[in-house]
């Protein structure tokens, strides 16, 4: 589903962040992506959701080489992904409910389905009482859960999460991980970037580790 072949990632005019990265995430995977702060975890995720294109090498997403993908095709591919951003990227003038409903609205889902599913999911992530609140009135942890709910509401094939438990306590972190596990069980492939070693140890999933701009595999 996601295949990197000798990929190099660099921002314009700067030194390469990742070099010679090769890996293959097939169907039914749940991986942690770890590494020190600034190691390039977010950049690797960014390359997967086509926020940045590789300076060298090949990236293959859902059977398509991204260098041959047209601009018009990018949204179609992104629709198969759910992304949890490190800085949440919630839309501050939309309520919690509207933020979570956004992907469904974009995909043209029926209003009745949106009205049923969104409160259910928000209840599940512990924000049932904040449906009509604006993100700015929520704590960092609550905003993170809204971001997660938005990423998973459309049942993506691939979920990319950048430090999804960075702003929540251990109890909520465990709960979110169980949500991811549940999603994985129902067929969503998951790649979580985190530097929370405790979490990695607690949930026994394969780990992709970035060290010295290279990607290493460890179990």
């Amino acid at each position: 589903m996601v295949r990197f072949e000798n990929v190099e990632i660099r921002y314009r005019g700067k030194e390469a962040i990742l070099t010679d990265v090769s890996f293959d995430l097939g169907e039914g995977n749940f991986h942690f992506l770890t590494g020190k702060s600034g190691a390039g975890k977010s950049s690797l995720l960014k390359a997967i959701y086509m926020g940045i294109f590789p300076s060298e090498g090949k990236i293959n997403l859902f059977g398509r080489d991204i260098s041959s993908i047209t601009k018009k095709e990018i949204p179609e591919i992104r629709r198969r992904m759910g992304i949890v951003f490190q800085d949440f990227r919630l839309i501050n003038n939309l309520t919690v409910r509207e933020n979570v409903a956004l992907p469904l609205r974009i995909f043209g889902t029926k209003g009745s389905i949106i009205r049923r599913h969104v409160p259910e999911l928000l209840e599940w992530v512990g924000l049932g009482d904040h449906l009509d609140d604006l993100p700015t009135s929520l704590s960092g942890g609550q905003q993170q859960r809204v971001a997660i709910a938005r990423a998973v509401i459309a049942r993506p094939v691939l979920l990319l999460a950048d430090e999804p438990t960075g702003n929540v306590d251990d109890t909520i972190a465990d709960r979110l991980l169980y949500l991811f596990k549940e999603l994985h069980r129902t067929g969503t492939n998951i790649l979580i970037a985190t530097h929370n070693e405790n979490l990695i140890k607690k949930f026994d999933y394969p780990v992709l580790r970035i060290e010295d701009r290279k990607l290493l595999f460890s179990d």
């Binding site: 959701y49 949204p75 992104r78 990227r89 839309i91 003038n93 939309l94 509207e98 974009i106 995909f107």
Partner: protein, 290 residues
């Protein structure tokens, strides 16, 4: 669901669009009323000529001692393709001249006789002129259509001016829509990025902007139309009372259903064009940004 923050540009756009629609409606109304008045005036004076007979009572050197006026009438009645011949009464002539000349002066002036004739065909005028000039070179014909020619040019010029005004308002309105879209995209840059990452196509963003623009333009159209109607009403009253006294000038009476339809199409077309321009601007600007 207000995904984008557009309150600032909406306020700006709302005011501009209201003003432009108001101006356009005024221009359309003035154009319509002046065209209708012109047509009415032209149809009333078509094929109408006035013959001036100076010294009408002067005897012509003939056997029966007929006057110059009698001889002129004799020619006119014998002439083919003349529909009607009306000799204006002295009172009518005085009433025509009165605003220009004092009544006392009129007593001392020997007024010419005026004969108003309506022709079936206007191409007989040269022959008619020759026949009358044979009688006396002092008698002459006033062709109303010819007299009306400079006024026709003025009306035509005014109509063009109103068209230019409408075009300019439309231009300003559409530029404002583009500007509002441009600033809206700049302000919502981060949100647009998120929406793109969630999987939205440019078309979704364009439609969202169009919905915003539709709301603003709908409101502006209603306000602009209401203001224009208010202005027409005031003008109608002013024209009736202040300027023309007992002469009936009724703007609303002159405008028929078809004119009203054209009139109402102005705000509707501004709104529709605005939506199309907004959508296209979003698509073009996003394509440039990507």
């Amino acid at each position: 669901m207000r995904i984008f923050k557009l309150a600032g540009s909406n306020f700006f756009l709302g005011w501009i669009m209201t003003s432009m629609i108001y101006l356009a409606l005024l221009a359309v109304l003035f154009s319509t009323v002046s065209t209708l008045s012109f047509d009415k005036w032209r149809s009333a004076t078509q094929d109408l000529v006035t013959i001036h007979v100076p010294n009408p009572t002067e005897r012509i050197a003939s056997d029966d001692g007929a006057t110059r006026l009698d001889e002129t009438l004799k020619i006119l009645r014998a002439f083919p393709d003349i529909e009607s011949v009306t000799v204006l009464e002295k009172n009518d002539i005085e009433r025509l001249i009165y605003p220009l000349v004092e009544k006392d002066i009129l007593k001392n002036i020997l007024l010419p006789a005026l004969i108003e004739i309506r022709l079936n065909r206007s191409d007989i005028l040269p022959d008619l002129n020759t026949s009358i000039k044979n009688l006396s070179t002092e008698i002459f014909i006033d062709n109303h259509a010819e007299l009306f020619l400079p006024d026709a040019k003025t009306f035509s010029g005014a109509k063009k001016l109103f068209s230019v005004i409408v075009s300019l308002t439309l231009f300003v309105a559409m530029i404002s829509v583009i500007f509002a879209v441009y600033s809206g995209l700049a302000i919502n840059r981060e949100t647009i990025q998120v929406v793109h990452l969630v999987g939205a196509k440019n078309g979704f963003i364009a439609r969202t902007f169009q919905k915003h623009v539709l709301k603003v333009l709908g409101f502006s159209s209603a306000c602009g139309t209401a203001l224009a109607m208010g202005t027409f009403f005031i003008l109608d009253r002013l024209l009736k009372v202040a300027f023309f006294g007992d002469v009936e000038i009724d703007i609303f009476k002159q405008i028929n259903l078809w004119d009203w339809i054209i009139f109402m199409l102005v705000p509707v077309s501004y709104a529709l064009l605005g939506i199309i321009v907004a959508g296209l601007s979003v698509l073009i600007l996003l394509r440039k940004q990507n």
